[in-house]
């Protein structure tokens, strides 16, 4: 039991940090540009596939640097030549534009790399057990992933607190209407923020790619969870996104490792009807409902705290 708790906590925090790598960019972009980037998870996917391709050509370490830069450049171009044009047509058009973009990126990835998973391997240097707890080996690569996300988290924090751009971003988070009065270089700041945000998502993609499955549907699988994170945390709240990322990371990881079900809990006491038309609900294990846990959480939050955990804003 203790083993389960320790392992699940480790994995949950790791998953949560990965989610936050993406959710932080999404949140900052939303606060500054007012648009929720539907294609954010697509940049995560692009990161994974670029990482895969580049590590084939030059190895994993160059890929870890080049793939996010590439994805970030694409992100910046999307902002400069796409979003900025659509901006005048309102937020719905912006959201739809990123939605169409997500669709197109998935198609392109499918065309180039196919529908089945690609063979994106953990670099050999990191392919060893880091430590053993309760007779289970914990892979070094996972520790590396945790390390990378923590380093980026720290870097982000320092950037926000210490640099000029960071101060502007902070101002935008608390007073979104002020962004319009930033002056002549507002366009460049937007482009930069969008580029950095998408690059962060791509970093998550590169490091998650070898550990998880690198496949053309990975954006579609992760995207909705990402949006749950930002809504649960409170749209536009960076601390909220952090809390919600960890919360959802932990909830999902713990749920996956549990095997309990109603029939298991009640055993022979099960009422007769449980065997017939309620059989599905009665026999489903907690592990099986793990995928829907974030959405259940979303609905609960909406009922009891419509603004999100730490959110203050109406829209």
């Amino acid at each position: 039991m203790l083993e389960l708790i320790v392992m699940s906590t480790l994995n949950g925090v790791l998953y949560g940090m990965l989610l936050f790598l993406m959710a932080s960019g999404l949140t900052v972009i939303f606060s500054m540009l007012g648009v929720l980037n539907f294609a954010h998870a697509s940049f995560y996917m692009l990161g994974a596939f670029f990482g895969f391709q580049i590590s084939r050509w030059f190895g994993f370490w160059p890929a870890l640097v080049i793939a996010p830069l590439l994805a970030g450049a694409i992100g910046a171009a999307v902002e400069r030549y796409g979003l900025r044009r659509v901006h005048k047509n309102g937020h719905v058009a912006e959201l739809l534009f990123t939605f169409g973009l997500a669709f197109a990126i998935e198609e392109v990835v499918q065309i180039i790399w196919g529908k089945s998973p690609v063979d994106f391997r953990i670099p050999p240097v990191l392919d060893f057990p880091a430590f053993t707890i309760f007779s289970t080996n914990y892979p070094a690569y996972k520790m590396f992933m945790l390390l990378v996300s923590i380093v980026i988290f720290a870097a982000l924090l320092i950037t926000l607190k210490k640099t000029r751009i960071g101060l502007i971003v902070q101002a935008a988070l608390t007073h979104p209407h002020m962004v319009g009065h930033l002056g002549h270089n507002v366009g460049r700041i937007f482009m930069l923020v969008f580029g950095v945000g998408t690059a962060l998502a791509a970093v998550a993609g590169v490091i998650a790619g070898p550990a998880l499955v690198t496949q053309a549907n990975m954006a579609g699988l992760l995207g909705p969870i990402l949006f749950v994170v930002v809504v649960v945390g409170g749209l536009g709240s960076l601390p909220g996104a952090f809390v919600a990322s960890l919360l959802i990371g932990l909830v999902q990881t713990f749920a996956v490792s549990m095997n309990g079900s109603l029939s298991g809990a009640f055993g022979p006491l099960s009422p007769d009807y449980a065997a017939t038309w309620l059989a599905d609900i009665w026999n489903v294990t907690i592990a099986q409902i793990a995928p829907i846990m974030p959405y259940v959480l979303l609905v609960l939050i909406l009922i009891f705290r419509p603004m999100g955990l730490l959110g203050t804003r109406e829209t």
Partner: protein, 433 residues
């Protein structure tokens, strides 16, 4: 009626206009009746049925997006649940020999959609804008994932099926042949379109528009925008349920794809491409997108990519959709100044077409080399055979694409000038406000 009212209020429609209005509906009914006489093949009947279903679904979606300003990424939930319930209903009706004829069964789907919209809508519609969009997505994922867990009801990956001919028969209609299904779909389409049109002309319909334009101000004229959004959401769920029911009857199967993200996305595509600003927009979109997806999939392997690019192009260049583009020209046509833009259109058409051909050619060549690099390089796309390994063709596509882009950009500036001129011409004649 007082004197001011008669002089100030919009005049009541003249008899001729009323006749035109009702004539339009009767005309639509006649067309629907006669269509199978003109195109009687099984394939075209199936296409028409799909279009009818898509029209109801898209119009129901536009109650949300176009009328009330709610962007939903999960509208297929109500479509899919309607479909599933109807398959179960058909099986139950058949097994118990209940006296419910098939033409009434779509109503069950509608009520299912309504029920779930009432259940899930109150939470979803608390907020509008981006939050609503994300919530609709989350709720949709919740339902779609739950459907895979509740296997008894939803039948897992395979879905559940039914035999529609086993239902109680009225006038010996078996609903086996596609032609009978076509008439069933056509009848329900006409009913649903009329009902949804009527809805836009009620006090609720107008308040939906007000909520779309300015939810804040709505509160200060006595309305709770949440309630307005909620009722609109329920109506949208009801009609989506009818569409889902018809789809289930048409295919005699319902599976998890019915309520999935792809289905939600395609109704959004159809509605938006058609145009959300006019009632007729989603109808145009449903017809266009159905033909497009059927047609493109025959012409090229990567039709979904083109589909996505078309959607992006509409969002960027024509936010009013096809209908919006056409309707823009109405004042010019009325004032007779359309002739001033027409030549610039024709000029712009040439380089734009060249650019598109270049783009398609480049895409197809890249796709060929990315996917089948080892195969025979003589390929065919859009019915045109060409050699993807031919370097001249590569150069040509690049020239067409890049050259076309630069020339097209200049010609579209010309169109802009011609447009301004034509509009000011129309304004002088009083056709534009």
């Amino acid at each position: 009626m007082t004197e001011t009212t008669s002089s100030v209020a919009p005049p009541a429609p003249a008899a001729a206009e009323k006749l035109k209005f009702y004539g339009l509906w009767i005309g639509a009914a006649v067309v629907l009746l006669l269509l199978p006489k003109l195109f009687s093949s099984g394939g075209s009947l199936t296409t028409f049925s799909l279009i009818g279903i898509s029209i109801i679904f898209s119009l129901s979606y536009n109650i949300l997006l176009g009328q009330t300003g709610m962007l939903s990424f999960g509208h297929a939930v109500y479509y899919g649940l309607g479909g599933f319930l109807v398959i179960h209903a058909i099986n139950i009706i058949g097994a118990n020999k209940l006296p419910i004829p098939l033409p009434l069964v779509p109503l069950i789907g509608g009520l299912t959609g309504l029920f779930f919209a009432m259940l899930l809508g109150w939470v979803s519609t608390q907020r509008s804008g981006t939050a609503f969009a994300m919530i609709s997505l989350g709720v949709a994922e919740l339902v779609a994932s739950s459907a895979l867990i509740l296997r008894t009801f939803f039948g897992g990956e395979a879905g559940i099926s039914a035999n529609r001919t086993k239902v109680f028969r009225l006038f010996e209609w078996s609903f086996g042949p596609q032609i009978q299904i076509y008439y069933l779909v056509a009848g329900w389409t006409l009913l649903a379109v009329i009902a949804m049109y009527a809805l836009t002309r009620t006090p609720l319909g107008r308040m939906c528009n007000a909520v779309r334009d300015n939810p804040e101000r709505v509160q200060f004229v006595g309305y709770d925008p949440h309630v307005v959004r909620y009722i609109a959401f329920c109506f949208a769920g009801f009609f989506a349920g009818i569409a889902g029911a018809l789809a289930a009857i048409n295919f005699e199967i319902a599976n998890s794809a019915y309520l999935g993200a792809v289905q939600s996305g395609s109704v959004l595509f159809a509605t938006y491409i058609g145009g959300v600003g006019f009632f007729i927009g989603p109808i145009v979109g449903a017809i266009f997108v159905t033909f497009l997806s059927l047609g493109l999939s025959d012409l090229t392997q990567v039709w979904q990519l083109y589909f996505g690019l078309i959607f992006i192009a509409v969002v960027v260049f024509a936010p009013g959709g096809i209908t919006g583009l056409l309707m823009m020209h109405r004042p010019l046509l009325k004032a007779g100044t359309f002739g001033r833009v027409l030549p610039s259109y024709l000029i712009a058409f040439v380089p734009t077409l060249a650019m598109l051909i270049g783009l398609i050619l480049a895409t197809e060549i890249i796709v060929f080399h990315a996917v089948h690099s080892g195969d025979d390089s003589n390929i065919k796309a859009f019915g045109v055979p060409f050699d993807a390994a031919n370097r001249y063709l590569w150069a040509m596509s690049a020239i067409l694409l890049i050259g076309g882009y630069f020339v097209a950009r200049r010609t579209w500036t010309m169109v802009g000038h011609a447009w301004d001129e034509a509009t000011s011409g129309a304004r002088e004649k009083g056709a534009v406000a």
